[in-house]
């Protein structure tokens, strides 16, 4: 069980590293003056990290310990803006997910996530549900020949529907029974 926890922590560490634009574990370990073998084992989950390492990683990557250790709280909006600005001019990105290689139009996906982040605090859904909905928007738009402006309009409409839908469900729950 501890092994699994280390792997989950390691995966979040890897995500935070990439969002901070460190393309390789080696480059980051050199930046923070941590032996590469130590850092790579933390990232792979082969080894649990010390408190001092945890503090260092959180500080250097601008993430909270709650998020890194327990997946509590959120990555901040500015992280996604940083990601978007880094990849704005690139059409595709190789994303490694559960050992599968997916090719994603990062420009389109970033647009969806950025639109969602505007309402993030108002939408109370599980991360899985949010991701599924964003994937649906992506899958519907990626197959169309719509131009960027039209796609952006459809993204706004879809995310707005999410906000309206979630608010409506919340209101139904709070209406007292007669």
């Amino acid at each position: 069980m501890a092994e699994n926890a280390n792997k989950l922590v390691g995966a979040r560490l890897r995500t935070a590293r990439k969002i901070n634009k460190f393309r390789s574990a080696k480059a980051f370990s050199e930046h923070i003056d941590v032996p590469f073998t130590t850092y790579s084992q933390h990232e792979s989950g082969a080894r649990s990290m010390s408190t001092s390492s945890l503090i260092k990683y959180c500080k250097e990557l601008s993430v909270s310990a709650d998020w890194l250790l327990l997946d509590l709280g959120q990555l901040h909006h500015s992280d996604l803006e940083t990601l978007d600005s880094d990849f704005r001019n690139k059409e595709k990105l190789l994303v490694i997910k559960d050992k599968e290689i997916m090719t994603v139009n990062i420009k389109l996906y970033s647009s969806i996530l950025l639109e969602y982040m505007k309402y993030h605090d108002e939408i109370s859904l599980s991360p899985d549900d949010i991701l599924e909905f964003c994937n649906d928007i992506y899958n519907n738009l990626i197959v169309t020949s719509a131009d960027d402006a039209t796609r952006q309009k459809m993204i706004k409409l879809s995310i707005s529907s999410l906000l309206v839908g979630v608010e409506s469900e919340a209101n139904k729950k709070t209406i007292p029974n007669r």
């Binding site: 649906d136 928007i137 899958n139 738009l141 169309t144 719509a146 459809m154 879809s158 529907s161 979630v166």
Partner: protein, 214 residues
Amino acid sequence: MKMIHKEALEISFKHQYKIKKIFSEILGTHDIEHFSLDLVNPDSEMVFFSGTPSHAFEICNRGLGEYDGIISPEHYENYEFYWWKEAHHKAFANKIQAIRSGILGLKYGFMLVRKWNNFHLIYSFATKSRNLEFQTKVINSINDLLRVGDWAYEEIRPLYANYSGIYEPPKIDVFYQFEGGKPPSRRTKKFLVTKKNKTNILYFPNLQKKYENS
């Protein structure tokens, strides 16, 4: 003549969350992987509520909406059931099929049509599977599929009321089994002609008696 509502291509995106929630109850049953409600008011104006918003969008965006036989009055006014492949426009069949099957992955599709209070309620189903038994399954489950379509329409009906023009969408309160041929024209128990923007309501008690007794 086919008339598409001015917001038709946006509606499925505008209400994507609600549509997805409702249609998720349908997808996966009977190998169905696409479902949409194509609703036509008495003025022949059509609106789409689709679980695959890209479907109508891409066909219309490429200028093929006018030629898509599956939503042409020629078919939905005359057939209670038809396969998509039976309704393809002769000149553009390949292009439309390339979008449906090639881009969207929808291999087999069909329509079931209800006619209530001069509205045409078109239930559009499709699968991405190449299973040759799909067509047999559909025929054997046709009444189940009609129930599914009726249920989905009732869930969407309040939303559709915002796009149905001056007409109130009918509330389906009776299930009718599949009959084949032209969609039977049915009336709800209280068939009122109302003008939404005016207060006067025209009520035809004699007509209502006639339909109740028929």
